[in-house]
């Protein structure tokens, strides 16, 4: 069977963290299913601390490594409203850079499962691609609610016990 869909484009550009690509893709696809965004393409790029620090410095003027950076294809959509693409090229939400080395170190400190944590940060990143922000407390509450819903559904479908990334209001993340 042939298709012209792309779905999740996964890239692993680092060698610090041994990743299970199939597991990561499966988890991202479950998140897409929960949000009803299967028809949209999405880029997931796994990078080390050095690379995510470079990107963070260039685009956010923060010269530190971080866990996730999102680059939405649609920059001005209302949170929770799916974009209305006019053609096939616009069936795209954008890219999420996962700082897998940064996430792995956090997991080691808190004895957490790496792939569970990657699902949590990816859910956070997808929310940004869908227009959610957390620059004000109001926005933060709205985004936290969405993240909680996504992860509760994920837990229900997979038997996991994941919790949202932002438990308290934080502008910087």
């Amino acid at each position: 069977m042939w298709s012209f869909t792309m779905g999740v484009v996964l890239r692993n550009l680092q060698k610090v963290v041994p990743l299970r690509r199939a597991r990561l893709r499966k988890d991202v696809n479950t998140l897409r299913h929960i949000l009803g965004i299967q028809k949209f393409d999405l880029g997931i790029i796994c990078v080390d601390n050095q690379r995510i620090q470079q990107i963070n410095n260039i685009y956010r003027k923060k010269n530190v490594p971080t866990d996730v950076l999102s680059f939405p294809f649609y920059e001005d959509i209302r949170p929770g409203k799916l974009p209305c693409p006019l053609n096939r090229d616009e069936l795209n939400l954008g890219d999420i850079f996962l700082g897998v080395e940064f996430v792995m170190k956090q997991c080691q400190e808190e004895s957490l499962d790496l792939h569970g944590a990657l699902t949590v940060v990816t859910a956070h990143g997808i929310c940004h691609l869908l227009g959610y922000r957390h620059e004000t407390e109001e926005e933060w509450t709205e985004m936290l609610q969405r993240e909680s819903y996504i992860l509760n559904e994920f837990n229900r479908l997979t038997g996991s016990h994941l919790e949202p990334l932002m438990k308290k209001f934080n502008q910087d993340r």
Partner: protein
């Protein structure tokens, strides 16, 4: 704004029976910076532009009738032809060999981590190891393994800037991974490569995995020749989930990004060693025995 990864990917893709949602296609573009390869590389010193320093554009015309190139200037009784050109060639090679040896980091080849054994057959290298009765071998040839370098095309005005940051020669050979299980008649064979944009030849925005699988097929165990009649799975039109499982399969057998990086380092060192050996053979051939 950044150019999206997924926007740049577009190809007919094939869905396997295992999934109906996604599919993969290679290669892609994505928004990032140039990858800083950690593979050990050496500065670019093979001075090809020296071969083209004069010509019609310089206004210089060679004086054909006063040239001595047709007449051997040295006679030693060995029966071979010796010219002034041969002597200049020999001197040039002596300097070149000296320069190359100066930048050669180590006389010994770098070790691959993970207990791989290296076996050389001319320019072909074979790495092998056995894990729980399963034999894994990786074969590559250092010939034609250095991608063309576009830095050489810089014009005179940019030459100084280019000199400040000397491009490095990195050998990125295609490599074949063969996995053989005990008592199996066939080996599973992966044809892998280093996508070119990872080597810093893209516009800085194109990026791929460090290495990628191009083809997968079963081949009769022990056969040297590639059997064209075996079904060959091409990853250009492959279901993405299946591709990820194949990559995970290789990672479980020690073929991951770290391995690929070390292979680049090893191949670069072998290539340099062979280059110096070739120059020495050439020098011996040119000069009088």
């Amino acid at each position: 704004m950044l150019k999206s990864v997924v926007r740049a990917v577009g190809a007919a893709v094939r869905i396997s029976s295992a999934t109906t949602s996604t599919a993969r296609a290679l290669p892609l573009s994505c928004p990032t910076l140039c990858s800083p390869s950690s593979a050990t590389a050496r500065p670019f010193t093979r001075s090809l532009w020296m071969l083209n320093s004069s010509g019609a554009s310089s206004g210089y015309r060679p004086k054909l009738f006063s040239s001595k190139v047709l007449y051997p200037s040295v006679s030693c009784g060995c029966g071979g032809l010796h010219t002034e050109g041969d002597k200049a060639f020999g001197d040039f090679l002596w300097d070149e060999i000296k320069e190359e040896k100066k930048i050669q980091k180590n006389k010994t080849l770098p070790k691959m981590s993970g207990g791989w054994e290296l076996e050389m057959n001319g320019t072909e290298a074979k790495l092998s190891r056995t894990v729980s009765g399963e034999k894994i071998s990786v074969t590559f040839n250092i010939n034609n393994s250095i991608p063309p370098n576009f830095e050489e095309e810089v014009d005179q005005g940019q030459q100084k800037a280019a000199e400040a940051e000397e491009p490095e020669i990195v050998s990125t050979p295609n490599f074949v991974v063969e996995v053989t299980k005990q008592a199996a008649k066939h080996s599973l064979v992966f044809d892998c490569h280093f996508p070119e944009d990872e080597m810093g030849h893209g516009d800085g925005e194109d990026e791929s995995d460090i290495f990628a699988i191009r083809e997968v097929s079963f081949q009769p165990d022990g056969d040297v020749e590639w059997k064209e009649t075996s079904y060959t799975l091409n990853t250009d039109s492959l279901d993405w989930a299946l591709y990820d499982h194949l990559m995970d399969f290789l990672a479980d057998r020690g073929i991951d990004n770290t391995f690929a990086d070390e292979l680049m380092e090893l191949s670069t060192a072998i290539e340099h060693q062979e280059y110096i050996k070739f120059l020495e053979d050439l020098q011996n051939f040119v000069k009088c025995n």
